[in-house]
C-alpha cells in the first residue's frame, strides 16, 4: 500500500517548553508493503523494460502497413511525400511514419481512457475519501490483476490507485514525446511504443472501472446480474427524458442520486447512448440504454430527449447544432468538451435551469457532477412540457419524405461518401413513389455518420428520411441486455482455468469496441451466437455488447436471455462499458495467477508469455472506430492476445500478420529441455482485418489455438467445421496444427490423416512452450 503526500498541519501549540504557530509537516511517498508476493523484474516498467518482449512479438508478426495517407504533415519541414521509398525532410520513411501514427493513435486512445480514469478517481476520492476501501466481494481476491502485474502493488483503497495513475501519466508523456520530429527512427521501436501505450491503456481502464465499481456500488462480478432494457422502445417519452452521451458516468450517477434523494426517480427517464449508458444501468437498473454510439444523431432527431448531457469520448462534436434543431438544451459536463459554452459551474442552479428552459442559452458548461445532477433533473421537468411538439414527432412526415426523396438527382455522391457504401439513391427513388421499405432497410447498416447529408448537392436530410421510414420498427422495439457485471470471479477462474489451458474449452472470444460496422450490427450478434452454441466463453463490452442485445431469435429472445452470464463454456458475459473490458484481460491474467500459481507482481513478461502460449483468447473489434479501439487492441496484443477487426480496422494503417509459410518464425523454447523446437502458427496472426463475418468466424476458431494445447481435438473440430460451413471447403492448413494423432478430431480421423499425410505431415512433440529464455533457467533450477 502506498500513501502519497500526507500533510500534517499544526496551527498552534503552546507549552512551557515549546511554542508552534502554523507548522506544516509534509511527508512524501510512504510505502507500507502488506503484500508478501515477491516482486518480479519489471514493476512500473518503462518502455525499455519490455522492449525485448515487443521485439519478439514483432519479429513473429511483422507489421503490415496500408498508409491511409502517403504524406507526413506533422511539422513545417513538410508536407513530405513518402510514397514508394521516398523519405521526408527529417529522414523518416513511410513504414516508420505509419508506425509513428499508430503510436500516436494509441497514445491518444490511452490518454482518453487515462484522463477519464483520473477524473473519476479524483471525483470519487473527493466524495468518499482517499482511504475508501476497494472491496470487490468475497469471491474476488485478485482485485486488480492488470494493476498488480504492471504496477507491482496491490491497491487497497481509492487513494492507492493514484500510484498507477501517476505511473501511467509519466509513461504516456514519454511515448507521446517520441512522436516529435527527430526522435524515434525505427518502425519496430515505434510499434514497441504503441504496444507500451496499449498496455498502459489497459491499466487505466482497470483503474477507472474499479474506482466506479466501488464508488458507485456497481455489480461486483455478479454472473446473475439482472437483465435490463435497451432500445428506443424502452424509453417512456411521456416522461421528461435526460439523455447522456459518452463514457464518464460521474454526472449521470449524480443525476440518478439527485432524483433518488428528491423522490423524482420514477418521474423522469434517465437514458444513455454509448458506454455511459452501460454504467448508468450498472448504477441503477431502471436506466435505459438507447443503443450504441452510432445512434446519436438518429435519437436526437427523434426529439424524445429533453435534456442532453455530454461527458467525453465518441460524442458527436456537432451535438449542439443537432440539439438546437429539436429545442433540446445541452449540458457539457467535462473538460474534454467545452463547445464554447459559458461556464456556469458556480451559478445558481435555478437560474441556469431558467436560462436553458427559456432558450436564452442553448447550452451550458457545468464542471461539478453534483450540480449537473440537480440542473438536469430540474431542467428536464421544466422543459418537457415546453418541448411537447418536438417529443410528439420531430421526424419528417411521410409526405415530406416523399417530397424530399423526389428531389434526389441520383448523382450517387451520397453513396460514394457513405463509409459502408449504402445504395441510397435507388431507395430514395422508391420512397418518392411511396415505397419506404428499401429506405427503412438501410437503417440496419447505417452507422449514423451523416456524411451522405454533407455530400448531397440538394441538401437532402438523408438520415432523417431513413429514420422516418424505419420509425415503426425502431421506436417500438425493446430488447434485453444483461447489466455489466464488471470483473470475473476468482472462483470462476478456478473452474475454467484447466479446461482453457488444456484446450477442452475451445476459447474465450471477446467482442469489444465501437459500432462502425461495415455490414450492419447483426453480424456481431450472429458471430457471438455461433460461438456460444459451440461452448466457447463469450465476453462482451461497450457498443458491441449493445449490438448483441439488439438481435432476437424467432422466439423473440436476445442472446442475453438465452445464455447465462457466467464465465464458463457457453456463457455470455457482459463486463460493461469500454473501461470494463479491462476485466477481459484481467480474466486472462487470473488464469496463470490462480490456476498456475504464477506470481503477478511486476511480472509482465512471464504472464504475457503464459497467456500467449496457453490461453486461447481472441479479441474481436468488429466495428473499430476510435483511437481507443486501437489502443485497446494493441494492449491486448502486448499481453499475447490476438485481435480481429472488421474491414475498417485497416484504416489504423497497421496489422500484425504472421507468415505460416515461414516455419522458422514459429520456433519456440521447450522450457523442459531448453531446446528451441518447431512450433506452429498458433496464433497465426496478432492483429488481423477480416472482410466478412464468415471469414472472421473461421479466423477466430483458428486464432484460439495455442502451442500448449494439451489436446487440440476440440479446437480443430470447430475450425474444420466452421471452415467447411462458411468456406465450403476443407481447410488447407490443418497439417500445420496437428502435432500428434491425438489432436485429430475422432469423427473424421481417417480422412484427416489421409489429407495431412499427403501434405508431408509428421508427428512432433508438444513442448512446454515459452518465448522467454529465462523461463528455461527457472525450470532447470527447479529441477535441481
Amino acid at each position: 500500500m502506498t500513501y502519497k503526500s500526507r500533510k500534517i498541519k499544526i496551527e498552534k501549540v503552546e507549552s512551557p517548553s515549546i511554542k508552534i504557530d502554523d507548522m506544516v509537516i509534509e511527508i512524501g511517498e510512504v510505502e507500507e508493503d502488506t503484500w508478501d508476493e515477491a516482486m518480479g523484474p519489471t514493476p512500473k516498467p518503462e518502455w525499455m523494460d519490455l522492449r525485448d518482449w515487443d521485439h519478439k512479438l514483432i519479429e513473429k508478426y511483422e507489421p503490415f502497413y496500408s498508409p491511409t495517407c502517403d504524406m507526413c504533415c506533422l511539422c513545417s519541414f513538410g508536407k513530405c511525400d513518402l510514397t514508394h521509398g521516398k523519405k521526408g525532410a527529417c529522414g523518416i520513411d513511410s513504414k516508420t511514419q505509419q508506425a509513428r501514427m499508430v503510436a500516436l493513435e494509441c497514445a491518444i486512445g490511452t490518454a482518453a481512457h487515462g484522463a477519464h480514469a483520473r477524473h473519476l478517481l479524483e471525483h470519487l476520492i473527493e466524495r468518499l475519501g482517499v482511504d475508501y476501501k476497494i472491496d470487490l466481494g468475497m469471491n474476488i481476491a485478485v482485485e486488480a490483476p492488470i494493476y498488480r502485474t504492471i504496477v507491482g502493488s496491490k491497491p487497497e483503497t481509492l487513494g492507492d490507485l493514484r500510484e498507477g495513475m501517476d505511473y501511467s501519466e509519466k509513461e504516456l508523456q514519454h511515448i507521446l514525446s517520441s512522436v516529435h520530429t527527430g526522435q524515434e527512427g525505427s518502425y519496430v521501436d515505434f510499434e514497441s511504443k504503441a504496444l507500451h501505450a496499449g498496455m498502459i491503456d489497459n491499466l487505466v481502464k482497470e483503474i477507472a472501472d474499479i474506482a466506479q465499481i466501488v464508488g458507485y456500488d456497481f455489480p461486483k462480478g455478479d454472473p446473475d446480474a439482472p437483465l435490463a432494457d435497451i432500445g428506443y422502445g424502452s424509453v417512456d417519452r411521456k416522461k421528461p427524458v435526460v439523455l447522456f452521451i459518452g463514457h464518464n458516468v460521474a454526472p449521470g450517477a449524480e443525476v440518478i442520486t439527485y432524483a433518488e434523494v428528491n423522490d423524482k426517480i420514477d418521474k423522469i427517464e434517465v437514458a444513455g447512448l454509448c458506454c455511459t449508458a452501460h454504467d448508468l444501468q450498472r448504477r441503477r437498473d431502471s436506466a435505459k440504454i438507447i443503443g450504441p454510439m452510432s445512434d446519436q444523431i438518429q435519437f436526437i432527431r427523434s426529439g424524445i430527449a429533453d435534456v442532453i448531457v455530454v461527458d467525453e469520448q465518441c460524442v458527436r462534436v456537432d451535438i449542439l447544432e443537432e440539439a438546437q434543431k429539436v429545442g433540446a438544451p445541452v449540458i457539457a459536463s467535462n473538460d474534454k468538451m467545452g463547445l464554447n459554452l459559458p461556464d456556469r459551474t458556480l451559478d445558481n442552479p435555478d437560474e441556469i435551469v431558467d436560462d436553458l428552459a427559456t432558450g436564452r442559452a442553448p447550452g451550458v458548461l457545468i464542471w461539478k457532477p453534483e450540480k449537473v445532477g440537480e440542473v438536469a433533473v430540474k431542467l428536464a421537468e421544466k422543459i418537457a412540457p415546453i418541448r411537447a411538439k418536438y417529443k410528439e414527432g420531430s421526424l419528417p412526415s411521410e409526405e415530406e419524405v416523399k417530397n424530399e426523396a423526389a428531389r434526389c438527382v441520383s448523382c450517387e455522391k451520397c453513396q460514394r461518401a457513405c463509409p459502408v457504401n449504402l445504395h441510397i439513391s435507388p431507395t430514395l427513388k422508391e420512397a418518392a413513389n411511396g415505397n419506404f421499405a428499401p429506405l427503412a432497410k438501410l437503417r440496419e447498416k447505417c452507422i449514423g455518420c451523416i456524411r451522405c447529408e454533407s455530400a448531397c448537392q440538394r441538401d437532402i436530410k438523408v438520415l432523417s428520411l431513413i429514420e422516418k421510414a424505419a420509425e415503426a420498427k425502431t421506436y417500438s422495439e425493446t430488447y434485453k441486455i444483461r447489466i455489466g457485471r464488471g470483473p470475473i470471479l476468482d472462483t470462476e477462474i478456478r473452474n475454467v482455468g484447466a479446461p482453457i489451458v488444456f484446450g477442452e474449452i475451445p476459447g474465450i472470444i471477446a467482442f469489444a469496441g465501437c459500432s462502425n460496422y461495415a455490414n450492419g450490427a447483426e453480424e456481431v450478434a450472429r458471430m457471438a451466437e455461433e460461438f456460444l452454441k459451440r461452448n466457447y466463453i463469450v465476453v462482451v463490452s461497450g457498443c458491441a455488447a449493445m449490438s448483441i442485445a439488439e438481435y432476437k431469435d424467432e422466439n423473440g429472445q436476445t442472446l442475453y436471455e438465452r445464455y447465462p452470464g457466467t464465465f464458463d463454456a457457453g456463457g455470455l458475459v457482459n463486463t460493461g462499458s469500454c473501461v470494463s473490458n479491462a476485466h477481459i484481460i484481467g480474466a486472462a491474467i487470473k488464469i496463470p495467477a490462480i490456476f498456475a500459481r504464477r506470481n503477478l507482481r511486476g511480472n509482465f513478461e512471464e504472464i504475457s508469455d503464459y497467456i500467449f502460449n496457453r490461453v486461447g483468447a481472441v479479441g474481436v473489434v468488429w466495428g473499430a472506430m476510435s483511437q481507443k479501439a486501437i489502443s485497446i487492441g494493441t494492449g491486448l496484443n502486448r499481453w499475447g492476445i490476438p485481435i480481429i477487426m472488421g474491414p475498417t480496422g485497416t484504416k489504423y494503417r497497421r496489422l500484425y500478420l504472421g507468415r505460416k509459410d515461414k516455419p522458422e518464425k514459429w520456433k519456440l523454447y521447450d522450457a523442459k529441455t531448453g531446446k528451441k523446437v518447431d512450433g506452429e502458427p498458433a496464433p497465426e496472426h496478432l492483429a488481423y482485418a477480416a472482410e466478412s463475418m464468415e471469414e472472421a468466424m473461421v479466423m477466430i476458431a483458428k486464432l484460439v489455438m495455442r502451442p500448449n494445447d494439451t489436446t487440440r481435438q476440440v479446437k480443430l473440430a470447430h475450425y474444420i467445421d466452421l471452415h467447411q460451413r462458411y468456406m465450403g471447403t476443407f481447410p488447407d492448413d490443418v497439417h500445420l496444427f496437428v502435432r500428434t494423432e491425438a489432436d485429430i478430431p475422432i469423427n473424421a480421423k481417417k480422412k484427416i490423416l489421409e489429407i495431412i499425410r499427403k501434405k508431408g505431415w509428421k508427428p512432433r512433440k508438444i513442448p512446454d512452450p515459452t518465448l522467454l529464455e529465462r523461463m528455461i533457467m527457472k525450470k532447470k533450477e527447479a529441477g535441481k
Binding site: F64, S66, D70, L82, P647, L657, E691, E695, M727
Partner: protein
C-alpha cells in the same frame, strides 16, 4: 479514399487487357461482394480461363469451388502482405504475380491493398471494380452498375474469353 501525390491512372477495359497481355503473371483477387451481381462469378470464370490466377478472399472460395473455378484461398490482407515480400515466389512457387486485379472486395480493404502495394511493392494493381480507386496503379472510373458490367464483358472479350 485519400491519396498522396501518386494517383491511379484511369483505364478502360482495352487498356486493362493490354496490361494483362504484357504481364508475366496476372492474378485476380475477389472477395465477399462477389454475389452482389449475378454475372460477377461468370466473369471470374472467364478471366481464369484467360490464364489469370484467382485468389479468393473472405469466404468467396465457397463460390469459386461451387463453380469449379481453380482458386487460391487467402485473406485479402494476407495476399497483399505476401505481394509486398520481394522473396515470395507465389502460391504455386513459380513466381510472384506482377499484376494484381481487384474486384468485389470491401472498399476499405481494396483501398488498403492498393495503398500497401503502391508503397511497398512493384506490383501493378488494377481496380476493375465499380469505383475509381485512387491508390491503385490503374483503375476503372466510377461507373453505374450497368456500364461496369459492360466494361467487364469488354475486358473478357478483349482477352478472348
Amino acid at each position: 479514399m485519400e491519396a498522396g501525390p501518386k494517383k491511379a491512372i484511369p483505364v478502360d477495359p482495352e487498356g486493362v487487357a493490354k496490361i494483362i497481355n504484357r504481364a508475366e503473371r496476372s492474378s485476380l483477387a475477389i472477395g465477399a461482394m462477389i454475389l452482389e451481381n449475378d454475372r460477377l462469378i461468370e466473369f471470374v470464370e472467364r478471366l481464369s480461363k484467360a490464364g489469370i490466377s484467382i485468389v479468393a478472399t473472405a469466404h468467396s472460395i465457397k463460390y469459386t469451388t461451387e463453380r469449379g473455378i481453380p482458386a487460391y484461398k487467402a485473406g485479402v490482407v494476407e495476399v497483399t502482405n505476401l505481394l509486398t515480400d520481394p522473396s515470395w515466389e507465389g502460391f504455386d512457387g513459380k513466381g510472384k504475380p506482377d499484376v494484381l486485379l481487384v474486384m468485389a472486395i470491401n472498399l476499405d480493404l481494396e483501398n488498403a491493398t492498393f495503398e500497401s502495394l503502391k508503397n511497398y511493392s512493384d506490383v501493378k494493381s488494377i481496380c476493375i471494380d465499380r469505383y475509381f480507386m485512387i491508390n491503385a496503379t490503374y483503375s476503372f472510373p466510377s461507373l453505374t452498375e450497368e456500364i461496369w458490367i459492360e466494361y467487364l464483358e469488354r475486358l473478357c472479350q478483349e482477352l478472348g474469353v
